[in-house]
């Protein structure tokens, strides 16, 4: 086998000069379409997009550590960046300061650009007259085996739901809260959704009545006309930032920085808010009217620092609890 052309594995210097940027992203259609073409147009940069799941992309970046192929990781949960600090180049965008304090780049390498909240998604055909407004309502025996939830140990949205629930039901280490989690696990009846998307898809497809999911895809389903509705749990919903970062040793460092700056510009943030179903990180940015105004939602704030440093313990605790409750 012949050695491949160097250009393929190592974007050379002159590629950077003509304006190139390699983006790894797990993001959905809307997000990509709203940013990438505009960025290319604005800066005359040619963007190569490689898409895969967040886990796969992080692994990929790890494996390419010595000779990075990509310049930017665009998307993924904030906590995943934090757990792999050695992969990222420190860069704080000048625009970062415009964000609400809670979402600012404190680590030096995590630029948050949109927010995602934990929600419940409900199939309107199947729900009948069962009332679902809160986490508490999920314990209705009629829902046993009809609830879709991922595995918090592997799915970031399921983990977000877990910490959300714990916080809402009494605190991360409160016995009461874990008691609720136990009951919820029994309601799941041993069924575990394979990943984040399986949760909302199974509800939309009518496989499950209710799912523990996140706002973006669910809202999009509603917007596209699926027969589902969003429920913001009355106990309170946590909003977490979606993050972007520059990969350490990126070959197109200048363009990467431009990209980070770009996604924080008010124009782009407005686009996020008005065309997508995400909530822009910039508080001043507009939001579309098909989104429930944030004011109408009970929100609670995650102690991200604590959660990040206790991630493994929480996941293990959940897994053990889950295992102990199976027949």
């Amino acid at each position: 086998s012949s050695p491949a052309k160097p250009a393929e594995s190592t974007p050379s210097g002159d590629a950077a000069a003509t304006g190139k940027l390699v983006v790894y992203s797990p993001n959905s259609e809307g997000l990509m379409n709203s940013v990438i073409p505009l960025f290319e147009e604005t800066y005359g940069v040619e963007v190569e997009v490689i898409q895969a799941g967040t886990g796969e992309l992080i692994k990929r970046i790890q494996s390419e550590k010595d000779d990075p192929y990509a310049d930017i990781m665009f998307g993924g949960a904030h906590s995943q960046y934090i757990s792999n600090p050695d992969l990222w180049e420190s860069y704080v965008s000048p625009a970062d300061a415009t964000l609400p304090e809670a979402y600012q780049n404190k680590s030096g390498f995590t630029t948050s650009y949109v927010l995602d909240g934990s929600v419940l998604i409900v199939n309107k055909d199947l729900i009948g007259d069962i009332k679902i407004e809160s986490y508490e309502d999920l314990l209705n025996p009629a829902l046993k085996g009809k609830i879709a939830m991922g595995d918090p140990a592997t799915s970031s949205s399921a983990f977000a739901q877990l910490t959300n629930i714990l916080l809402a039901m009494g605190g991360y280490e409160s016995e009461e809260a874990w008691d609720y989690v136990g009951k919820l696990i029994e309601q799941l009846d041993g069924k575990v959704a394979s990943g984040s998307s399986a949760v909302y898809k199974s509800v939309a497809d009518g496989e499950m009545i209710v799912g523990l999911s996140y706002e973006d895809p669910c809202a999009q389903l509603v917007r596209d006309g699926a027969n589902v509705e969003l429920v913001y749990p009355t106990e309170g919903a946590v909003y977490l930032p979606a993050t972007s970062g520059i990969i350490k040793g990126a070959k197109n460092m200048d363009n990467a920085k431009k990209f980070i700056d770009f996604i924080l510009t008010p124009e782009v943030q407005d686009i996020f808010g008005t065309t997508l179903t995400n909530r822009p990180a910039l508080a001043e940015a507009q939001t579309a009217d098909y989104m429930t105004p944030i004011a109408e939602i009970t929100t609670i704030d995650e102690d991200r620092e604590w959660v990040n440093s206790n991630k493994d313990a929480l996941a293990t605790k959940y897994t053990d609890l889950f295992a102990s409750l199976q027949k």
Partner: protein, 550 residues
């Protein structure tokens, strides 16, 4: 297994060493760089067996091994039970639309992302099309989730493997054996059970091994429809790819457990197939005969039914590709809108879809027959080692292979290019299909034909390429077809290694699924299916006249 040949540094000795070297470079080295984590404590760097204790200590984890075994065992049994008679019918009898059906069977073995299990959910899920149809007429049918569903999906996907293997093997059964049996009053089912099965047993064991391992290492299906039925490949995948709290060390430990399991199963299989070592010289191949009456009807019914069910998910995908879409949803009405979008995005993926697997396939065939020859005709410790090693990549999750390749070959030291790396990774992962079928067939080819060639002054290599290889053709081809369709639909390694220049249709389908464009994904899947059919037709055209499977 007795060794039949001392190591000698002749041409075959050199080939042995070369292949061994390649495996050390491209298998042991990369996997070693990843899997060593299994015995290293992340914090202290000390050697530890904690991960293994964790795996075997917690029922939550160790149960996955039992679950996986259950799935694999029954999948293997059912795939053999379904695939073998089908291959037999296709060889013995005239069946209407045989060529077409054969292509459908091969298609059923393709498991492009999103096609397999997800289509089954749409068909047989709690709200599936078929489920609802039966509900409508008042029949409650079991849904797809859990053990039974996994079994259904895997069997539909894997019986083609048995089918192709056995069909290849039947090409090497001399017609006179069938006749002798019929002549002694042993026809029909008895003939099948008492003569045909034992004669193709080495191949059946080889095919069974591949099915078993594939079922054992498959994570896509149990992940999507397992719903809590946990198998250990899912565990490995989740630990490696977790978005939350994965642990590479633990994942590596499980991977090592699976390698050990693979090796044991493989050796058991080798031992078992030793009991069926005999050679056959098929001068007259079995001729297909027309059937009449009830028998004819039943044979057709069986064939159409099995193939019909197996091909359902593909059909459903094709159907959905013509549906209108809106965002994440399929909506009422039909159009070509998905195709319009799909063709805009296809770019060079269609070329890559054939270029990359094409190169890989050539290398695969070349290596596989060489390895098969070494394993069968030059059996010694070294070649047996090569044999065992060749099976390991088959069971390691593709993404692990991808990661390992990335770490090992994407750095200042190696810097192997994208295309080359993809090809190499694909080759080692899809080699086993062709190796196993070639080994099985070669075991049954009598030495005297090769001796005749040597006595006529042909060199060892020439004998191999001019005589042995053509005689192995039916086996090589059945393996190569499987290698081919699985190469085309390969995803998990490629997703770690691809760039836009090496993006294939399969990757495109997966990224469209990620982006939420199910319509486009369905359209691309259909394009992939059509392209595969075309490739198979071309293949049939080229190899026409020669004595091969299709």
């Amino acid at each position: 297994m007795k060794n039949n040949h001392k190591f000698k540094l002749d041409i075959w000795g050199i080939i042995t060493l070369t292949i061994l070297g390649l495996y050390i470079l491209f298998l042991v080295l990369p996997l070693g760089t990843v899997l060593y984590q299994a015995v290293i404590n992340k914090e202290t760097g000390a050697i530890t067996l904690d991960y293994f204790t964790k795996f075997f200590g917690k029922k939550y984890y160790s149960d996955t091994l039992i679950n996986s075994f259950q799935v694999s065992f029954w999948t293997t049994i059912l795939a053999i039970a379904i695939g073998t008679p089908l291959a037999y019918f296709f060889t013995m009898f005239k069946i209407k639309g045989k060529k077409f059906l054969q292509i459908l069977i091969i298609l059923a073995s393709m498991s492009a992302p999103f096609i397999g299990a997800y289509s089954w959910i749409l068909l047989l899920g709690r709200n599936g099309v078929i489920t609802n149809f039966f509900k409508g007429v008042g029949i409650a049918i079991p849904n797809i989730y859990g053990f039974a569903g996994i079994l259904l999906v895997l069997v539909c996907q894997l019986f083609p493997l048995i089918f192709l293997y056995i069909q290849g093997a039947l090409k090497n059964v001399d017609n006179s054996l069938v006749e002798a049996s019929q002549n002694m009053g042993c026809g029909g089912i008895k003939l099948f059970l008492r003569v045909i099965i034992p004669l193709v047993m080495p191949t059946m064991l080889a095919g069974g091994l591949l099915v078993f391992m594939r079922a054992l290492s498959d994570f896509g299906t149990p992940m999507l429809i397992g719903e809590g039925f946990r198998t250990f490949p899912v565990l490995i995948f989740n630990e490696f790819m977790s978005e939350v709290s994965g642990d590479d060390g633990f994942a590596s430990a499980i991977a090592i457990v699976s390698i050990v399991v693979t090796a044991i199963i493989f050796l058991v299989q080798k031992y078992a197939s030793n009991h069926f070592s005999f050679t056959m010289n098929a001068m007259h191949t079995i001729e297909e005969k027309p059937l009449k009456g009830m028998k004819n009807f039943l044979v057709h019914l069986y064939s159409y039914l099995v193939i019909g069910v197996a091909i359902l998910p593909q059909c459903y995908v094709i159907y959905t590709s013509f549906k209108n879409t809106k965002g994440l949803l399929f909506t009422e009405g039909h159009s070509l809108m998905s195709y319009e979008a799909a063709f805009k995005r296809m770019g060079n993926t269609i070329v890559n879809t054939f270029k990359i697997p094409g190169i890989a396939l050539i290398i695969i065939i070349f290596l596989a027959v060489l390895i098969a020859y070494l394993v069968v005709r030059r059996r010694n410790k070294l070649t047996s080692t090569v044999d065992v090693m060749s099976m390991i990549p088959y069971i390691i999750p593709g993404s692990v292979v991808g990661i390992a390749f990335g770490i090992t070959f994407r750095n200042k030291f190696f810097s192997i290019g994208g295309l080359a790396l993809m090809v190499i990774a694909l080759v080692i992962r899809r080699l086993p299909y062709t190796i196993r079928s070639s080994v099985a067939i070669l075991q049954q080819i009598p030495m005297s034909i090769e001796e005749a060639s040597i006595s006529l002054g042909a060199s060892k290599l020439k004998t191999f390429f001019k005589i042995t290889m053509p005689m192995m053709a039916s086996g090589i081809i059945s393996g190569a077809i499987l290698s081919w369709v699985t190469l085309i639909s390969e995803l998990s390694t490629a997703i770690i290694l691809y760039t836009t220049k090496t993006k294939t249709l399969t990757i495109a389908i997966y990224t469209e699924v990620l982006r939420g464009n199910y319509g486009i994904a369905a359209a691309l899947s259909t394009v992939l299916t059509v392209a595969t059919v075309i490739s198979l037709l071309i293949f049939m055209k080229i190899s026409k006249g020669k004595d091969i499977t299709i």
